[in-house]
Symmetry: C2
Subunit: 342 residues, 2 copies
């Protein structure tokens, strides 16, 4: 049945300098081969578009190997099994895994890189599995709880507050009894974060002074800063941290497309003065406990005390532009590319 | 007896811009008043000259209040009690405390700012009480052990390796079974650190590439970096850290006299990639356990497995120049100003 299928793909054509350009991609198409014993064929439904993708396009040692030139671009996603010769997977199953920016994934069901696991469409709408119940949610949950170690009454600041990770960080922190102040770009995002998600306040970094906002909204200083953006905002927060503060370095989207060197935090000596800590996290380290995070957050979602917002762009062909939305802050909520109808 | 004494002092005349200049000081002299009940009069023997002094000269919130304009410059030291109307202190006692840059300290023996405690000249030569058995030693001991959490077999890198804190960091790390690589300025200091103190290697940052040195001498990467200098060296080490590395931010002497903003570590995202941690320390936090550190290090000194070197400059009048030795790396070992003969 599979021989008549065509698989459209985005492959990395060149390593970008600064913001990725259309010519950094090659849009290809190839026939889908027959599946062999142990294989599954997965039809991509949704792909997760994440700031981390920019890093995967660079050469050099990182927490994961770079995407090779001419390789299909790496992307996590949700798909439907449309053919299977593998034990434990049947046609119609919904899976989450590293599908790549393509219409179909084919290979061994137990491929370690793809890291498939089945998801239950009855528990939550599928896009949620790329948001609070997926990598961004796990990043928020384990990063905040295991590195941030929040205590009730503490003040938590999170940048990229309307983004995939930030949304959940703030709501998990509220569940732990913290005061939560978001930082986001634009009034709409700030209103959403406060009015819909229940943050205590949100600073609009595009229109207001972050320093003044921190003074106004963190009268007792900052105990935890969950940083998704780096750059000047990290430096501004460093001037307001409390003794024994914890800064979680999750990302630095403001710096990913730099053609000049990364801006290091000039105020890092605030760590010394305040005996504070800055620590990096990578979500994969918590893989053996994802089920704990998913269970608790799915419960909160059912109870209505964890809300998430997705920004879903339609069509594989729109991948390059959709990705650039992230770096320009044009997405509003977790950015997802819908590749096929459910 | 005390009324005939004159007390020469260095007072802060102006807040320095960049490196302190002679005109930032005022050399004054005043008669020593009679002591009142509860007072002691202490004759300064040795003063500790430390990089942290540069920070105390600046305005602004820090871990300790700034020295005020016209105030006697703050300095820890060792002195001899020459008059006492205080319980527990008698003439001839040797005390350690915040004496200030002056010939005599007078006031209540229980003054919290001075924080006097008696030291035993029979246990170790007095200058050692300003080095391994004093603040630098306590900084090294508790910073390395409590924040660095060294494990046998790990690689520890320490900058300012021939300085007061660095000397001891490396030797404590050797006691814990670590591979120890120092970074110091000049061949003499590097030879001393390796040949006298027993470090495994030392990189001469003034004459050699730190990056190349780290590659050569840390074949298994860097697990702990004890940073006394900041600047480019911190950035170089960040490129070589291991998973779960710990970076102890103790100081940043390369940045203290900047007239431009502090250079933040551009490679800080290595913390993310490596799930590593950067944490500041201030020695005062461990005050209630100094006796533990002093006891263990005094034992090592008696056994010959902890060596220290002091660089002793003579004469109160040489304070300004002696202080500048620190920032130019002209001292070789813990810098001490001898104000009077023992």
């Amino acid at each position: 049945m599979t021989t008549t299928l065509t698989n459209q793909q985005f492959r990395l054509a060149a390593r970008p300098v600064g913001m990725p350009k259309p010519t950094d991609w090659r849009f290809t198409s190839e026939p889908v081969r027959e599946i062999a014993d142990g294989d599954i064929l997965v039809k991509t439904l949704y792909l997760s578009l994440d700031p981390a993708m920019r890093g995967w396009m660079n050469e050099g040692k990182s927490y994961i190997r770079p995407v090779a030139i001419d390789e299909v671009m790496r992307a996590g996603g949700i798909g439907r099994v449309v053919a299977s010769k593998a034990f434990g997977f049947k046609v119609g199953d919904i899976v989450s895994g590293s599908l790549g920016v393509q219409q179909y994934w084919i290979g061994a069901a137990n491929d370690k890189t793809a890291a498939f696991y089945k998801v239950d469409p009855k528990v939550a709408p599928l896009p949620k599995y790329l948001n609070a119940l997926g990598m961004p949610g796990m990043t928020a949950y384990f990063g905040l709880l295991e590195v941030g170690l929040p205590k009730a009454g503490e003040t938590v600041v999170v940048s990229g507050a309307a983004g995939a990770v930030g949304q959940t960080v703030g709501q998990v922190a509220k569940h732990k009894g913290c005061r939560v102040v978001g930082i986001a770009g634009g009034k709409d995002k700030c209103d959403f974060v406060v009015d819909e998600l229940g943050f205590d306040a949100c600073i609009d970094y595009k229109n207001d002074s972050v320093k003044d906002g921190l003074k106004a909204h963190c009268p007792n200083g900052v105990d935890i800063y969950f940083d998704n953006v780096g750059g000047q905002i990290l430096d501004d927060v460093l001037t307001r941290i409390n003794m024994k503060a914890r800064i979680i370095i999750c990302g630095a989207i403001s710096q990913y497309n730099n053609t000049t060197p990364v801006k290091g935090p000039a105020n890092y000596l605030s760590l010394l003065v305040n005996r504070a800590r800055m620590e990096g996290i990578v979500v994969f380290d918590y893989a053996d406990r994802y089920h704990v995070g998913v269970a608790e957050m799915a419960k909160w979602m059912r109870e209505g005390s964890l809300k998430t917002r997705e920004d879903i762009v339609q069509g594989l062909e729109n991948f390059p532009d959709a990705l650039s939305m992230l770096f320009e802050g044009r997405n509003f909520g977790k950015l997802i590319l819908q590749v096929a109808a459910e």
